[in-house]
Symmetry: none
Subunit: 415 residues, 2 copies
């Protein structure tokens, strides 16, 4: 099995100022393709030390993947360190220069010498183009054929470059043939221990696919990992087991793999041509942000009102002032009126409303921090739900949003 | 300055199944105490490879801190690898044995041979006792006096052992008297290369504090790191440099350290008792979510309308149907009417509006994906801004949100 090492570059990593999420991402991608990782390292922006680390890694492994230190500033030295380690010079890459010039022409910003420096690549290297930034990646080569691949450190630039370019290059270079196929079943509204109870016997009896249960905040995933030579073999391994698990977890599995609660909801509502509106107080726009993260959300989502101030609840949503005075903004009565009000104003089929005490201040004995009311209004009437959530302000806001979307899914997934 | 290396141990780290939070924790603690970290590494549970990595690190640095692989199971080999690297044998430590026996007596579980193995420590090592588990840590020594400290991998066992025992040992062993104080200046609206151009000369001329520029998405941080014996000396080192940099970046530094664009805005508006309302189309609630992430946001933020559907723009925000028909929803005219409409409806001092093509579908030659219009309405009238953003739907939505908050800050920070 071919093996490589990963070197993350950046002095901030050695100061503990940043948790490195690039290395596990790259390691996971390599593992799933059948490429062994001998070790991973982090080094500072120090040309001599970095070059020495690359040389040492090439003594043990078939190649090195660096991540970070490709930017235009003087402390970015990864490219120079790779050249030092491999005994190569840099040369101007015309394609990269043109692409950087295009980016600057498009943005109206002035191009400087340090931007031009980014168009230099080690002699004889393979370009990994950067669709999301100015720093190109590349694969450079030692005289004995070992490789050093350089990826940028910004995750949204690094990930597509790895997924779309470097993995294909590695697959072809090392003739990688077996890989791990993963199938993830997303559940909502069921505890990890209950999942364990319902499917625990399968854990022991299954070697391939392996099964794992991963608890997220207020959601659990069941992960099936099959080792196979091709997609057909992987599907044959995963299919029957997936069917069995979905049947045992009926009414809780809302989607698979890249699907999210919001993508499933938008898809389902668009399919049956029904529309959603929102009235958010304590969730402050988070539910709207989730729904509008889905491409084509406009087919199902009309819009919403972030009714933070009580005057907005009264005037824009038509919540009677008397209700606000009698029961307070965080109450079953007000959340009901918010859902009905936004449904009427926006003319949606369904409306979801939230109100609560997100904290850290503002709690009382009667209405403590973490108290949240949800309401769901439709032709069938209004249903409400009272939550008592734990955690920081951020967690309470996020947990209220997930639970509200879960209520919407639970109520309408079978429509 | 004494320096060491950190080695995290665990095959799951090389498979990308776990994000290593121990290494940044240890690195941050060492950095702030004035101990340099040369490099960090992760290796699998492999005795020969681990021992080789320890030997190599001792060739470069004054010591090594390992983390993980001290448990009782057969795949825990860190102690053996350390003994191999240092040429030491293990010997029974009576204090550890008694403590393990106490833990088992207390729990009623049966003690096994592999638990007894945990009471063996390398000859001549200093014990780091484990108040939260059975695996003790230790500091072992090479013949030349260099050290290898072993910490457990479970974070709630590792952290107190580091904080309460190992740091004190290091401080005394290396006579550490200085620590590092960090000051972060947050900027918006200025490119990394432009910051480099304006303050680049300070990078070279400054050794203490060190300066680093960190680019985030559409924002940059300038970080000052001062090495000093106490807080007073740190402040004296950072103060003048910070003033100089803030002056050179006038109009771009919006906050420091833990402050965010939204916390600064909420604070400033609350202070002068002015209010904000939002009309969000393409940003879909993201700006509201940011503002409401700040505790006490209600002092400045009234609420907003997520006007996703055109009917919501027309009916709830009062955008004239004729404008929507003539210019389309993504236009200077409509974004202006949205800002004016929400300002009037919610009665706010200031209103911010967004409309755009977030993609990936829905772009045209005239209005491509990434085209976003911003408007800011106040007593002074309406100012608009046209953006052409790049990236995925998620990035366009997030970049539009940051830029909109930046516009709000730019316009009102001096009020």
């Amino acid at each position: 099995m071919p093996c490589c090492e990963i070197i993350a570059v950046g002095t901030e990593l050695l100061l503990g100022q940043l948790t490195d999420t690039n290395t596990p991402y790259i390691a996971g991608a390599l593992a799933s393709r059948g490429m062994d990782v001998y070790a991973t390292h982090a080094l500072g922006d120090n040309r001599a030390r970095l070059s020495e680390a690359i040389r040492a890694a090439l003594g043990r492994s078939d190649g090195v993947i660096t991540c970070g230190g490709l930017g235009p500033t003087i402390d970015d030295v990864t490219k120079e360190a790779i050249c030092d380690a491999l005994g190569l010079e840099c040369e101007l890459n015309d394609a990269v220069m043109q692409s950087i010039e295009r980016i600057f022409a498009g943005s109206g910003r002035q191009m400087r010498d340090n931007n031009r420096k980014q168009a230099d690549l080690p002699q004889g290297s393979v370009l990994l183009s950067n669709a999301h930034g100015t720093a190109p990646g590349f694969v450079a080569f030692a005289r004995d054929g070992k490789f050093v691949a350089a990826l940028p450190g910004v995750p949204h630039e690094m990930r597509p470059m790895l997924d779309e370019q470097l993995l294909a290059w590695l697959r072809s270079r090392f003739s990688l043939t077996s890989f791990i196929t993963t199938r993830v079943l997303h559940t909502i509204g069921i505890a990890e221990s209950e999942i364990d109870h319902r499917i625990g016997d399968l854990f022991a009896s299954q070697a391939n696919p392996k099964i794992a249960v991963l608890a997220h905040d207020f959601r659990c995933d069941v992960k099936l990992m099959a080792k196979a030579r091709d997609a057909h073999e992987a599907a044959a391994l995963i299919g029957p087991l997936e069917q069995d698990i979905v049947a045992r977890l009926e009414g809780y599995v809302f989607g698979t793999d890249d699907e999210t609660l919001e993508s499933v909801l938008v898809g389902r509502f668009a399919e049956v041509r029904r529309t959603i509106a929102l009235a958010e107080s304590c969730t402050g726009g988070r539910i709207a942000a989730r729904l509008t993260s889905v491409p084509g959300a406009s087919a199902a989502f009309l819009g919403g009102v972030v009714a933070y101030d009580n005057a907005v609840k009264a005037e824009t949503l038509g919540v009677p002032a008397q209700l606000l005075a009698d029961f307070g903004a965080v109450s079953c009565e007000v959340v009901t009126a918010m859902a009905q009000g936004v449904r009427k104003r926006l003319g949606s089929d369904v409306a979801l409303a939230t109100t609560g005490v997100a904290g850290p201040q503002g709690g009382t004995a009667e209405k403590p921090v973490g108290l949240v009311w949800l309401a769901l209004a439709s032709d069938a009437g209004v249903q409400t739900q009272r939550l008592q959530l734990k955690g920081s302000r951020e967690l309470i806001q996020s947990r209220a949003s997930v639970t509200a979307l879960g209520l919407l899914w639970k109520t309408f997934y079978a429509m």
